[in-house]
Amino acid sequence: MWTCKNLWKKLAPLARSSSTLCRQNARGVLFNNERRLPLVPQAHMSSGTPGSGGDNNLYYLLVGATCVGGGFYAYRTIKGDKERYQERINEIASRPNKVVPEQPITEAPAAEPATVAPAEVPAPTPVEFPSHAPYLLIGGGTASFAAARSIRARDPGARVLIITDEPDLPYMRPPLSKELWFSDDPSVVDTLRFKQWNGKERSIYFQPPSFYVSPQDLEKVENGGVAVLTGKKVVHMDVRGNKVTLSDDTEISYDKCLIATGGIPRNLQVIERAGEEVTKRTTLFRKVEDFKALDKVSRDTKSITIIGGGFLGSELACALGRRSADSDLEVIQMFPEKGNMGKVLPEYLSNWTTAKVKSGSHCQPRLGVAVITEALVKAVSFKDGKVEIKLKDGRVVKTDHIVAAVGLEPSVELAKSAGLEVDSDFGGFRVNAELQARSNIWVAGDAACFYDIRLGRRRVEHHDHAVVSGRLAGENMTGANKPYWHQSMFWSDLGPDVGYEAIGIVDSSLPTVGVFAKATAKDTPKAATEKSGTGIRSESETEGTANSPVASSTPEPPPVPEQKDNYGKGVIFYLRDKVVVGIILWNVFNRMPVARKIIKDGEEHADLNEVAKLFNIHDD
């Protein structure tokens, strides 16, 4: 009501002048014939015009109408927003092949009970759950596993319970879009084993089942352990009571809790609305089951289109393009940017990379991948047995299957019941520099929007970050009180010729300085790993790291096409206010500690060429 009063005060002079005009125009018509409006109490009037009660009535009418109109509009907008938000949540929740989450148990009348249908429910015999877990980790991915290991290392005899809605034990994600596709083993889809940088084979699972304790033994086993509850989803969190509720209404209480729920792949709205014939021919790639499904699709279809030009999209394009060497598979990649990794690499480098992807000289010597840049998908339909993708500029692409790699939506459904803050800029749960959301609750991995002391608030969706943040969360859950300090890195390979490692904020919208040397045939990811034997490309030293493919069965890649500017190898600095906030090591390996140091210092360097010298880019 006070706003109305203020509004009134502001509008009164305006109303006054307009009413004068009105009076002049409508004298004798409007005021004399209209029924007199109830007079506003004297106290509210800020105008002292010697006007008749009619003037005041008009002021009141105008301002009142504005207030009501404004209020009505605001109400509708908020309601609409809420509806749109709910719609979006429901859309995400109701995707096919997904576990439908139950609405959190709140007072909201809109809550609809939805039954959960986990992908593969374990055997009919009911598993006994522990009723209390000193350390409860929600989510069974990389961050969660890293935290579990950290907790066990620091708190002897700790009892850690991981709850995951997937049927699998914790596994690492990078090989799903890289190494597993390059394996020569035809049974790789079942074994999920791949060859590491050092030639040794390993499974994507962090640990075999024998590492874990069974949930029912967790409370009793002598030295504690890590137990994993698969196929269960946490749907409600009671922060005051320190307990969570699962989809089957079981309650588990905790002392300390980690939320590492990761996220689910985003989809394009045009695909979601395109009908079942299209959606069932669309893969949203994230989990083991998606890898298995896509592997099958790649053998059964003739044409796959990948929508998305970022890490996942480009890696899958490379992986599928490689597979197309043995079959007739047509692989198309399309994205709205001008080049692959358009949001990460500076334009000149993105263009150079795209040219390589197109020519196929990178990961697939013969066929290559058909890359369609600046492609905005307007509509998708299913016609004559083919999926038809219509682009905004009129081009039409006909394909058998779509893989959408258009980003990740962090899973924050628990925020509501837990009363946790969700970040509006980056998405995810908002946590402090020590990854804490509230007392006894930490968040790590893809779902955590945290404060990086050096680089500011951010949310990072990379494997090494999941390891680093998971480990840190585990440390803090056992009393370390350390902030996010060890900068995580990431890497990407686009075949044996183009590979890079990166650290910090690597955003193509920032000004960059790139220092390059002419590349020789010796400077490729393949050569680097073969030669060094001991060098690693990933800084996170837990077992959960996968590195570039070594055993590539492709023949010698053709000589690099002579280009005016050959960005063979070098260092690219990303600057924000003249300070280096991100670095890419382009085909330069085993120099990550130097890069990490430069970012940590946060100094202004006058000549970045001098800084580049520290990397010895000309050496192997």
Partner: protein, 159 residues
């Protein structure tokens, strides 16, 4: 000769090997060895063992974590002439435990598949370090860290 190009807001410099041979005059901030935030290697500044060192892999956190910690602590603080000679009991205990989990702690002689496939879970993999009866524990994961030597650069504080 180096060449400098401006591609909009991005600068590109091509340099020859000779140009980069001269030592860099870029200044780096001096490292603080007592920085509480830094990632530590295997041995903490106060002399204690950092059980959370990535170099240990899953050794301290797995089912045999407790016995591993006992054995390794004993070795670390041993002041004997032959370091760790009084720790045989602990190491035996550790080995016994590890033998109960051949999947997690494969012995040197049976590297890959051996015996019935029904025994081996398809997701068998090499757990980080390969336990040997005598210290130091060899680590087969990417970052190697023999017990008492300083950790490799990739996990050091100044990294």
């Amino acid at each position: 000769m180096s060449s400098v190009k401006e591609e909009g807001k991005d600068r590109v410099i091509f340099v020859t090997k000779e140009e980069h041979e001269a030592p860099s005059n870029a200044e780096l901030v001096e490292e603080d060895p007592d920085d509480p935030y830094e990632e530590r290697g295997l041995i903490l500044p106060n002399g204690e063992i950092n059980w959370n060192c990535p170099c240990l892999g899953g050794m301290a956190s797995g089912p045999c974590g407790a016995s591993f910690k006992e054995a390794f602590s004993c070795f670390h603080y041993s002041k004997e002439e032959v370091k760790g000679s009084e720790c045989l009991e602990q190491f035996r205990g550790m080995q016994e435990c590890m033998q109960r989990y051949p999947e997690l702690y494969p012995q040197e002689d049976d590297k890959e598949t051996q015996g019935g496939p029904s025994e081996k879970d398809p997701s068998k993999q090499d757990s980080a370090p390969e336990p040997t009866p005598t210290p130091p524990v060899q680590d087969s994961s990417p970052s190697t860290a023999p017990a008492d030597t300083p950790p490799p650069s990739n996990s050091s504080a100044s990294g």
